[in-house]
């Protein structure tokens, strides 16, 4: 059996940044396992720009952003295996992986970082009725076909869902000569970043129909058209509002799901809201020494935050491996998400092990204008920050300081909520 200090599952932005951070913090034997044929993960198919504004203070394309981290990983001489699928991880941190050259092999790790990313929700998850012809793609699959393989999945396109990949693909398909007829969104607001709506739809005159969904799919062999309808407040189609759009392609951008089959297999405790593992301040899962970061933990809006989070996970894994963690786990503080806040990452804090500063990330459940992010230490409001707009498509964050938490005697719960005033 191979022995490593740290095994990182996934060589996308999270895995790369975690590996670099662990090495910089002194971890010797690191191995990244990547299932695709190159490092970089889904960034490799994101050839549009807009990545790295926070991290590098410049606008990079996805492959360029990944390239920066790949370079760092190579400079740091971190080992990686490509085309390698992790089949199983045991509670005692034996990783079973497989590839063409080595076959099935096992690795004993001292620590593991989960960085498997996420997948797209499929048509089935929405239960869209109709036929099942060719031409119905998830937006990411179409993105791979266009940007990596050089093929056009279709010429007349309707997009369901205004997630970022869908918006990006609306522009991309238009630039390749396709006619994108409409983007329909079930919710009364977009699920994507504001800048993507402006740059990918508005600039190309592509209409965005909010509170609309696909109610029928037509075409037995290849897609012929879809029927859109308006929906009521509960998301049910309103009769009489149906409108038929002829098209040969339907792209679905209806949400991302952290890919946690391996995590569940280990028996890690999961958070139903995020579909990611429950983690503490160190981004450590319910199993000691197994950490998680990036989209496998919760779906991010910007890759910069993925890198930042992964850096923290790498550093914490390093402390764990070197047995340098602060002792004691007496003082546990719960983070409670309520009233407009859907979840928080992390979900609890071991105060003794907390760094001086901690970033808590979360998403809101609806669109809030001129509202406040409020943070309560037990009953007392300690933060009240006004924001002009908050929407489900954009991640929010607050910072906690260790000294302040220590000052607050016997602090049990930190509650994060949205308040109108």
């Amino acid at each position: 059996m191979l022995l490593y200090d740290l095994v990182i599952v996934g060589g996308g932005p999270a895995g790369l940044a975690a590996a670099a951070s662990a090495r910089e913090n002194g971890v010797e034997k690191i191995l990244i396992l990547e299932r695709d044929k190159e490092l970089g993960g889904i960034l490799n198919q994101c050839i549009h720009n807009g990545f790295g504004l926070h991290t590098f203070k410049e606008e990079l394309t996805g492959p360029e952003y990944a390239g920066r981290f790949i370079e760092i990983v190579k400079e740091l001489d971190i080992e990686y295996r490509l085309n390698t699928m992790v089949m199983d991880i045991s509670k005692d941190k034996v990783v079973t992986a497989m590839n063409r050259e080595e076959g099935l092999f096992e690795i004993q790790a001292k620590s593991i970082i989960l960085a498997m990313g996420c997948r797209e929700r499929s048509r089935g998850a929405l239960n869209i009725p109709g036929y099942r012809p060719a031409g119905v793609y998830s937006a990411g699959t179409a993105q791979r076909l266009v940007n990596m393989e050089g093929y056009m999945p279709g010429k007349e396109v309707v997009i369901l869902g205004s997630g970022d990949i869908g918006l990006i693909m609306a522009r991309r398909m238009t630039l390749e000569g396709a006619k994108v007829k409409v983007v329909a969104e079930l919710m009364p607001y977009s699920g994507g970043l504001k800048r993507n709506i402006v740059q990918c739809l508005d600039d190309f005159g592509i209409p965005l129909k909010l509170s609309h969904t696909v109610v029928d799919i037509d075409g037995k062999e290849r897609l012929k058209g879809v029927t859109l309808a308006e929906v009521d407040e509960r998301g049910k189609p309103i009769q009489g509002t149906e409108e038929y759009y002829s098209c040969d392609t339907l792209l679905l951008s209806v949400g991302l799901i952290p890919e946690n089959e391996l995590s569940r297999g280990i028996g890690i405790e999961m958070e139903p809201v995020t579909s990611g593992p429950v983690v503490n301040e160190s981004l450590e899962t319910s199993i000691e020494g197994i950490f998680a970061c990036g989209n496998v933990l919760h779906v991010h809006d910007l890759v910069d935050y993925v890198s930042e989070e992964a850096k923290t996970a790498g550093k914490n894994a390093s402390s764990y491996i070197k047995n340098q963690r602060a002792k004691g786990n007496e003082h546990k503080i719960n983070l409670i998400a309520t009233e407009g806040v859907r979840y928080t990452v992390p979900k609890y804090i071991n105060l003794e092990q907390m760094d001086d500063n901690l970033t808590v990330r979360f998403r809101v459940g609806g669109v809030y204008k001129n509202s406040y992010i409020s943070v309560y230490y037990d009953g007392e409001r300690m933060l009240h920050r006004k924001k002009a707009v908050m929407a489900p498509g954009e991640m929010e964050q607050i910072k906690l300081e260790k000294t302040k938490l220590q000052q607050y005697k016997d602090l049990k719960n930190i509650t994060v909520k949205i308040e109108e005033e």
Binding site: S122, R123, S138, T141, P153
Partner: protein, 479 residues
Amino acid sequence: MYDVVIIGAGVSGCAVARELSKFQVKACVVEKEEDVCCGTSKANSAIVHAGYDAQNGSLMARLNVLGNEMMENLSKELDFPFKRNGSMVVCFRPEDEKKLYDLMENGKKNGVKGLKILSREEALQLEPNLSDEVTKVLYAPTGGIVCPFNLTIALAENANQNGVEFKFNTEVMNIIKQETGYLLKTNQGEIESKVIVNAAGVYADKFHNMVSEKKMHIIPRRGDYCLLDKSAGTHVSHTVFSLPEKNGKGVLVTPTVHGNLLVGPTAIDIEEKEGTATTREGLDKVIEASGRSVKNIPMRQVITSFAGLRAHEDRHEFFIEELKEAKGFVDVAGIESPGLSSAPAIGVMAAEIVKDILDLKQNEEFQAERKGILNPETLSKEERKELIRKNPAYGNIICRCEMITEGEIIDSIKRPIGAKSLDGVKRRTRAGMGRCQSGFCSPRTMEILARELEMDMMDVTKSGGQSKLIVGHIKEEIE
């Protein structure tokens, strides 16, 4: 001139083909689609019914019980997944309990073994997620679940291995009676045959009516289904039916033989013989009705929905006979549920009829066994390592949800009746059948198909015909 032409490569046609291949016969299966198992056989409950349901004395009842008995051995001979998980019929009201007893009596007369009525408490011991409404249960331990794709494919491959030809993309347009036998006019030219077996599913009436004045009428009875992720697959371990309804056996909740959870079907009579579109009403009905017999079904875990068409003949019976008015024309028609369960027995019965017509001799070289696509998950770690050493393609996972390797996909394409499309690969290997519904693996599977079949990526289809997956290269249409 063929001895026999079988119209339709669904489970019935393939079962007949396989049984016929036990005789010395020049036989051919013609199919309008690009593959076997493209119609009713691919979209159904995947259940091997115990046989308590069909009216005692009917052909349906006899062949169901017989087919159920035969299925286990057949699954070993032909290497397809089958499991006797047991069925339950649940009843919600004390006043309906008599119907359970009637069903049990009918089943006993049909020869179904082991039937018994369970109290609510006894049933909950076996199936803890039965709903609070359930008052009594008819338990049928012989009920089973099967992979309908692999059953059909296995029958076809074995028939082919024993000499039966298959012609795909071949649609029969007309059938003309000749002095000896029949002339089939197809979109691929003319075919002559002494005997015709009409196993055309929802189209069986069309072919029957070409040669007979005694008209047959088959209505496609559509059923909508939802398939749930494997994480929901252990929600029930038995197949749970509600009491039969006017149009069928009602909505069921069942594990599949691959470990998913399946709920459905509805029963809607339609005119369109290709009308496999699901509807909002249908899917809502499935969700509502399944929740009545089994509680807390995690409907958020639905990964796909689909509709299948039962070939319902007005008289609700199987018709497996040589037509008196058209000698040499053998109907295998009206094969609606329990058609899948009955398929092994249907094959034997129809082959016997053909044997008598043509006075066929035994095929001494008949090979009864067929080996399925190797599933590496059934191997030990050491065996798996050895397999990858010999053939590295088995070390390359293509479908990450179902963990299907490139080796399995290549095997599915290179087999005698190999996959030619994404759906063909999916039905044979399950690549693309998992929770991401081929989002990640379809571009890679397309590449493998193009490479192995030496065709252009542009010509790779989802399911043959016009179902092309890509329409051009990038940079072509930029003006």
